[in-house]
């Protein structure tokens, strides 16, 4: 695994904003993992310089860009590592539960401190980059090389109350060959016409469960793939889940939306949507009450922690 240098780190505006929001709403410092991909971008070199002049690797060869697509915040510090900075891979796995993306690095948010990596953060980044790696995605070269998960995002608030800005962020890459954290520029990718070009390599993923939609009534399907018994069982299970929501509406029925029966059928579908909306509303109020309960529990935990630390009040 070579020790390659990232050109820059891209992050979508919404991810950065939710990271900052998560950090500023927590009562103490937090850390967490960040996930994403690494791409190789071939930059065309149109100059007339002879190849012998160009010493820097980025002039005629590719650029490697890291893209951050999601994150998982632990809600506390020293979450997946110990105070010496040694990363525990079991705790990393429990923190990254269900995340479909690859681990690209980690982030740390501390209030009112200097905008430089601390002693522990350097150690954690070093340990993380030696234990985890991810492939470099390259559309041209299918045989991908691996790169260490060495990205570190630092979120801080300014030490003095200047009121000019309230949050600061910086990104670093850990280079194992030089054993140091090097700062990298951060590109924020947003939605809008100006950013359309950026979306070329930026592929955010949000998982959607695979649903098999079979048109049972169609007799035109030839060579129906039997599939394995397991796949069929899974398809039947998914159909049952949708049936519970859609109350037995088959996909094939949707073709009745056009034509003679349209008026009455539309009314029926609208009623069904209203019932679905009511279900969503009751779900939302359930979530609200359980959130309040979680908040009370967190308050109680804080009181206990303060009692142990002998902080009065």
């Amino acid at each position: 695994m070579d020790d390659l240098s990232l050109e820059k780190i891209e992050i979508s505006g919404s991810i950065l904003a939710s990271m900052i929001q998560r950090a500023s709403s927590s009562p103490s410092d937090v850390d967490g993992l960040i996930f994403g991909q690494i791409h190789r971008i071939v930059s065309s070199n149109l100059s007339d310089d002879s190849p012998a002049d160009s010493f820097s690797s980025s002039s005629s060869s590719d650029q490697i860009v890291a893209t951050v697509t999601s994150f998982a915040c632990s809600g506390k510090t020293v979450s997946f590592y110990d105070p010496l900075g040694r990363v525990n891979s079991r705790r990393v796995d429990s923190l990254r539960v269900d995340s479909p993306d690859r681990l690209i690095g980690w982030f740390s948010a501390r209030r009112k401190t200097a905008n430089r990596p601390s002693m522990r953060e350097s150690a954690v980044t070093s340990s993380l980059s030696s234990q985890f790696h991810l492939p470099i995605e390259d559309s041209q070269n299918p045989k991908s090389t691996n790169m260490a998960s060495s990205v570190f995002f630092l979120l801080t608030t300014p030490s003095t109350d200047q009121c000019i800005h309230t949050h600061e962020y910086r990104a670093y890459q850990f280079r194992s060959s030089k054993q140091r954290l090097e700062p990298r520029s951060v590109g924020v990718v947003n939605i809008g016409p100006a950013f359309r070009g950026h979306y070329g390599s930026f592929i955010p993923k949000s998982g959607f469960p695979p649903l098999v939609c079979e048109l049972d009534s169609s007799a035109m399907v030839v060579d129906r793939d039997e599939g394995s018994l397991g796949a069929k069982k899974q398809a039947a299970k998914d159909q049952k889940e949708i049936d519970a929501l859609a109350e037995g509406l088959q996909v094939g029925d949707l073709k009745r939306l056009v034509g003679a029966e349209a008026a009455s059928f539309t009314g029926g579908i609208e009623d069904m949507y209203e019932r679905m909306l009511a279900k969503i509303q009751s779900l939302a109020s359930d979530v609200e009450t359980s959130s309040a309960f979680v908040f009370q529990q967190e308050k109680h935990n804080r009181k206990l922690r303060n009692r142990v630390a002998r902080i009065g009040r």
Binding site: P83, R305, A309, R313
Partner: protein, 382 residues
């Protein structure tokens, strides 16, 4: 010194650190990282002496999670200082393991732990700077490192900035074959007094052919000033092509001699104060150990006043400074009227002590009349 606002366990550790640290560590800033309760302080900046100057480290505790040890943010020039990462040269193994032990077996109820941690980090920092200085591409520095490292306690620092030229600083403790504390009768000092030589080598840049002489400065622990001021010492000149191994013994000899002279000067000052007793009576107050100060109560006719004597370490070459203070006149702020500091009067260091005292008291007799007039004017003004 109470640290109000700190959680009690952190305050204990901070107290212990400031009271028991062998170097005098100070706190510069304290602040809170807690959002819900910003009155709970859990972060501070420590100013730690290193290489005869200071370095600043931010110590970051987390008041919400009190079981964890603090984290440290080092200075902006020390980006490569990473004491916790495991790739350090094997000969520092004992230091690393004690630091790692301090961090992994952190007990937040033990008040000594912060001191142990800071000392471990400081030792690591000394080793880091030594490695950094060893990488400087300068023959003179490399030679000095190889010859002078047999002395214990040398600290080095590599200073480079955008505008400043690159320099390497050495702080060398001077070894003199005497225990200054024992030489002074009734010495009140708790710690051993030390003198250091700071040597700053400018690093040769490409267009310079010869190395310029390093800048030299003597620094002593602050309590030594009562006996001997290192600022008065004239350093021997640094010849071209000299190196520390040649310069140091010469300097140490000079200093030994000067300190012995300073110690005998104490006796001289004491005998002068005793000579004054004949004319002015026993002193109201006098410093018995270093004899740098004495105060006498005296009168001129009906006018009673006090005379303060201040002796410098250069006595008798430099005459003592006098200040008169009236016992009968108060100025506008209800403070006794004092005269200016008087140091222009007949004096010669070659006189013997009795004659010095006699001439000084003659001067005082005349000066008392002037002072009385001055006091009356001051009182009349309001």
């Amino acid at each position: 010194m109470a640290f109000e606002g700190f959680p009690p366990l952190i305050a204990d550790q901070l107290h212990y650190l400031l009271n028991h640290s062998p170097d005098s560590i100070k706190i510069e800033n304290v602040w809170s990282g807690n959002k819900i309760n910003p009155k709970i302080l859990d972060r501070f900046t420590l100013v730690i002496p290193y290489c005869l100057e200071t370095i600043k480290w931010d110590v970051i505790y987390n008041s919400e999670y009190a079981f964890d040890p603090p984290d440290f943010v080092f200075g902006p020039d020390d980006e490569d200082f990473m004491p916790c990462t495991s790739t350090i040269t094997p000969d520092d193994d004992d230091h690393i393991s004690s630091l790692k032990k301090a961090l992994s077996e952190w007990d937040n109820e033990d008040s000594t732990r912060l001191l142990v941690l800071i000392q471990g980090l400081r030792d690591q920092y000394v080793a880091y700077q030594r490695r950094s200085v060893g990488q400087v591409d300068d023959d003179r520095v490399k030679f000095e490192i190889s010859t002078v490292l047999t002395r214990k306690g040398i600290e080095m620092q590599r200073a480079s900035g955008v505008d400043k030229p690159e320099e390497v600083k050495f702080a060398v403790p001077l070894v003199m074959d005497m225990n200054i504390n024992k030489m002074v009768v009734g010495c009140p000092w708790k710690h051993q007094q030390k003198i250091y030589l700071q040597v700053v080598y400018p690093i040769l840049r490409k267009f310079e052919s010869t190395a310029s002489a390093p800048r030299l400065r003597l620094v002593s622990s602050s309590e030594l000033k009562a006996l001997f001021s290192v600022e008065d010492v004239k350093l021997p000149p640094w010849m071209d092509g000299m190196c520390l191994a040649e310069y140091l013994p010469h300097l140490e000899e000079t200093l030994e001699r000067q300190i012995q002279e300073a110690v005998s000067a104490i006796d001289l000052r004491r005998s002068f104060i005793e000579a004054l007793t004949i004319f002015l009576g026993r002193p109201l107050e006098a410093n018995p150990t270093f004899c740098r100060q004495a105060t006498f109560l005296t009168s001129s006719g009906q006018f009673t006043f006090m005379v303060h004597f201040f002796f410098s370490t250069q006595f008798p070459k430099q005459q003592p400074t006098l200040m008169l203070q009236s016992c009968q006149h108060l100025n506008q702020s209800s403070v006794p009227v004092k005269s200016n500091l008087l140091s222009e009067y007949p004096w010669s260091p070659r006189w013997e002590v009795g004659r010095m005292a006699e001439r000084l008291c003659d001067f005082l007799t005349d000066e008392a009349v002037n002072f009385k007039k001055y006091c009356n004017e001051v009182v009349l003004q309001h």
